[in-house]
């Protein structure tokens, strides 16, 4: 029974947790060793209930034959075969890939560029932060509504904008290319701030000495950025990009409000297609099979994300 006294040299905050013996009668101590594990039980049940169980169940559903939403036993790989030969599934995957690449690339470059431009001006960082947090906070459904009000002909501002330049109004959401660009713009509006704020925080907390030293040595701005600024930003930036990619793959709400995947299939992301397959056509088995295939991809990304976060934390 050592280590009983609360010594002045007790662990610093942030030191890794370490079991300590406690005075008799002052709690669990050695009397009831299982207690910390008991604290974990409710949370474990809750987590398993909304993740492990559904995922397990989803995998099972992907091998099940559903007709009009009713369970008719297993059908082996039929669902997967159907999905594999489904032209629309492939189309949705391609659209999703295009969407993710476009949005994440633009958001990263734009966020990085704007942050570099503004970082010197510390006076305005508070209003900027407030202004840029809002797009990410409000419900994506509301974001969709906002942009419907901007894009729709008759009520919006895009048509008059075109007329200002003498062009005929295109009715943005009714044409394939413009609708796709329109939903990308919405995503960029909503999520560029995240990259922007992360880079801004990184820049403003960055040690200035190495930069000064390099500058004295005659390094140009591009050199400084590539050799010093970017490497220091990289760990957090990579985390943000990975999290953003995972999120973008699952984009649903704004698309549902803006175009419902249309016109035709121009903005039909995999989430919209899977949702329709399940809830409009009650093909739960096929939808589950699609999602299992998607899950495998997302899992890989999530593992990457966890690794990157560990590294960034160091």
């Amino acid at each position: 029974m050592t280590d009983l006294v609360v010594s002045p040299e007790s662990p610093e905050p942030g030191e890794p947790p370490r079991q300590r013996k406690v005075l008799p009668g002052s709690g669990w101590g050695g009397r009831f060793v299982a207690s910390p594990y008991l604290l974990l039980v409710p949370a474990a049940v809750a987590l398993a209930g909304v993740s492990l169980y559904p995922l397990f169940y989803g995998v099972r559903a992907s091998f099940t034959h559903y007709l009009y939403g009713r369970d008719f036993g297993t059908n082996g790989l039929t669902n997967y075969r159907n999905v594999w030969h489904d032209e629309f599934f492939r189309q949705a995957m391609v659209t999703t890939a295009k969407y993710v690449v476009c949005t994440v690339t633009i958001e990263t470059l734009l966020g990085l560029g704007l942050a570099l431009l503004v970082s010197r001006e510390i006076r305005f960082s508070s209003p900027i932060r407030v202004g840029l947090i809002l797009p990410m906070t409000i419900a994506p459904v509301v974001v969709g509504v906002m942009w419907r009000l901007i894009y729709d002909s008759g009520v919006g501002v895009t048509d008059p904008l075109w007329q200002l330049f003498g062009a005929s109004p295109p009715d943005v959401l009714a044409h394939n290319t413009s609708a796709f660009i329109a939903v990308v713009v919405v995503d960029v509006w909503e999520w560029t701030p995240l990259i922007f704020l992360i880079v801004l925080a990184g820049l403003q907390s960055m040690p200035q000495e190495p930069l000064e030293a390099a500058r004295v040595d005659g390094a140009g701005r591009v050199r400084l950025f590539m050799d010093h600024t970017l490497p220091m930003l990289m760990p957090v930036l990579l985390v943000a990009i990975t999290l953003r990619t995972i999120d973008a793959i699952g984009t649903f709400d704004q698309i549902y409000v803006l175009t419902q995947g249309g016109p035709g299939t121009a903005t039909r992301l995999i989430s919209i297609y899977a949702y329709n397959t399940a809830f409009l056509f009650t093909q739960y088995g096929q939808a589950a099979a699609m999602l299992v295939m998607l899950l495998i991809m997302v899992m890989l990304l999530m593992i990457v994300a966890v690794r990157l976060m560990r590294r960034a934390a160091r």
Binding site: A46, V118, P127, V142, V155, L243, V257, Y275
Partner: protein
């Protein structure tokens, strides 16, 4: 090196960024206060004949009272549940050296659950709730949101609790407190700012969730505000005035909360990777 770009250009850039960020909000608010004639009457940057009729229609015709009530109950109960069970788990992870590498692996699991896109969960959840007769009930949504939020609470609270020196609660335990009363009387008050930020985050994500609420509810008995907003769009003839008003009602509580936690915001969104 930077003074070469004229100051004026810098200020214009900042102004432009803020204008682009704010304009859609202003436009929605503007539209929500316009008469129908003015909505279709070209671009006007403020309502020339302001009216609140869009808002009263929202509550009289489009059931927004019911949506708000559902959202309020579901958010309050599920966030309270998840804060309780999540903080208990986070405390165990922050203070005890557990076996089987649980300290690390439990955090990773919590993180993974948080990252899974909703679309991957919603179909099995639908089938499960259908089996238990919980479709289109507030209880069904409360259970699901509790589970989803718990992952976030564990992840955030573990890092907040680890920052609190353990001497303080050990002193309380020397004074006769049990582990749990020390947690309640001493640790929680110290962790209050982190707890509040975590709670507000949970409120925001729960209130904003659309996909799960859309898939698992079907009537005003359990539909939440975002689902209510979307019902105004599915119609052939969109009523833009009430739709804009609905957007404002949907955004307002969240905007207020967001301003409260703005300092912690990026930390929450990057799951703690950026402090």
């Amino acid at each position: 090196m930077s003074a070469r770009l004229p100051r004026i250009g810098l200020y214009l850039t900042i102004a432009l960024i803020l204008a682009v960020a704010f304009f859609p909000f202003w436009w929605m608010l503007d539209t929500s206060l316009k008469q129908p004639v003015d909505i279709f009457g070209g671009v006007t940057l403020y309502p020339h004949h302001p009216t609140t009729s869009n808002y009263s229609r929202l509550f009289d015709v489009y059931h927004f009272g019911a949506y708000l009530e559902n959202s309020l109950i579901i958010v309050a109960v599920s966030v309270a549940f998840s804060l309780t069970i999540g903080t208990l788990a986070a405390y165990a992870l922050a203070r005890f050296q557990l076996r089987f590498g649980l300290n690390q692996s439990a955090l990773v699991v919590a993180l993974l659950v948080r990252m899974i896109p909703g679309i991957l969960l919603v179909i099995p959840l639908y089938i499960t709730l259908a089996k238990w007769g919980l479709l289109n009930t507030r209880l069904g949504l409360i259970l699901i949101y509790t589970g989803l939020n718990t992952s976030f609470v564990i992840w955030m609270m573990q890092s907040f609790l680890a920052e609190i020196p353990r001497d303080i609660e050990e002193a309380a335990m020397v004074d006769g407190d049990s582990r749990l009363t020390a947690l309640w009387r001493v640790v929680i008050p110290l962790a209050a700012p982190g707890l509040a930020a975590t709670a507000i985050f949970c409120v925001i994500t729960t209130y904003n969730d659309f996909l799960i609420a859309l898939s698992l509810t079907s009537t005003t008995q359990a539909q939440t505000v975002p689902v209510g907003v979307s019902t105004l769009i599915g119609k052939i003839q969109i009523e833009y005035g009430p739709m804009a008003a609905a957007g404002v009602v949907g955004a307002l509580p969240i905007v207020i909360f967001a301003l409260v936690v703005q300092r912690h915001f990026v930390r929450g969104l990057t799951l703690g990777a950026v402090k």
